[in-house]
Symmetry: none
Subunit: 202 residues, 2 copies
């Protein structure tokens, strides 16, 4: 599958969010409003690009006629649980999958691609504990303050993310932990996804 641009991902996310939240796809104007575009044609052309890449289909002549293709498992989706091995990669590689659980896709605001089993105490002040399962929506798009799964050069970590120009701030929710500053000119870092929910087992 062809890769999506950052903007195209945002538009796709916007569509997903609308369907999950309201039950129906957005209009061009609604996409513009959510993403800050000032011309309906901004949304239109992104939609056409997504259609060309076979990500969505657009029903001509009908309002809100957007549907997402290859929509995997509308109900009873089986979602893998991935353990964060120290300094390991949180990919969907089968050796990292601890188990699979069935979740109602409508449970969380966005589609859940996997659950990340939390290691460490860096987020305890915001109620995210060791062995909690954080529901992760795979995307490289985020807003400042989002709970993000970030792959740095030598680690995969769950933190609040803030970006300003070439500087990335990964902020823990634990005063005993220091924020991580990353200068994207020197180091690489990639957002794997954002946390959209949490499951805890007592």
């Amino acid at each position: 599958m062809k890769d999506l641009t950052a903007q195209q991902s945002k538009v796709l996310n916007c569509i997903e969010e609308s369907i999950n939240k309201t039950g129906f796809p957005p209009t061009r104007a609604e996409i513009c409003q959510k993403l800050g575009f000032k011309s309906p044609n901004a949304a239109e052309s992104h939609l056409r690009a997504l259609e060309k890449k076979d990500i969505i289909s657009i029903a001509g002549g009908s309002s809100r006629g957007i549907s997402i293709k290859n929509k995997k498992s509308s109900s009873g989706g089986s979602v893998p649980v991935i353990g964060l091995v120290a300094a390991g990669s949180a990919t969907l590689a089968s050796e990292n999958i601890e188990r699979e659980i069935n979740v109602d896709p409508s449970l969380f605001s966005r589609n859940v691609d996997y659950f990340l089993k939390v290691k460490g105490l860096s987020m305890i002040e915001d109620g995210i504990y060791e062995d909690d399962l954080v529901a992760v929506h795979k995307t490289n798009d985020f807003k400042n303050g989002d709970l993000a799964v970030v792959r740095t050069e030598d680690d995969v970590t769950l933190k609040y993310i803030f970006k300003e120009n070439h500087k990335l701030l990964l902020k823990p929710a634990n005063k005993d932990f220091d924020p991580i500053h990353i200068d994207l000119r020197n180091e690489s870092a990639e957002v794997e996804g954002i946390g959209v929910g949490l499951i805890r087992k007592n």
Copy 2:
């Protein structure tokens, strides 16, 4: 739940079919075409009736703004979500059920009978926040220190429970809240169930 008439069922079917087939809800005109009505108001009034019966919701002022409520998906154990009304009863009475969600029964250590939507901040120090859904296993059996849903004489509350002879201690996880002491010789209290897990939506 009120019963639907034959025509209302047809309209509801038509909506479901449209969502499954196209990915978005139908317009009034499309409903008319499919069911053979000649006036858009035929569809409109059926939709209003379905809305009144709380089967669907209609987003005013937007096209195709129809969504089906309590959309319980096909498979898996469906578990109700109960909102804790202030001083209300957390029974499984249908009027308290906010929605139903499907969960993998193997997710939590014990069978989940319902989810309790948390109100208040009495447990925040242990990572249980407002609007979190606590998975509750219905039982009146508990161990000291269990997270319990307790019905007191004038409230239903979620606290850690400790029992010693005729004294019951309900302990919050928030230093701003005082523990509740109940003398079972004077007051009644009943354990509705114990918390076996938690789901949080961001």
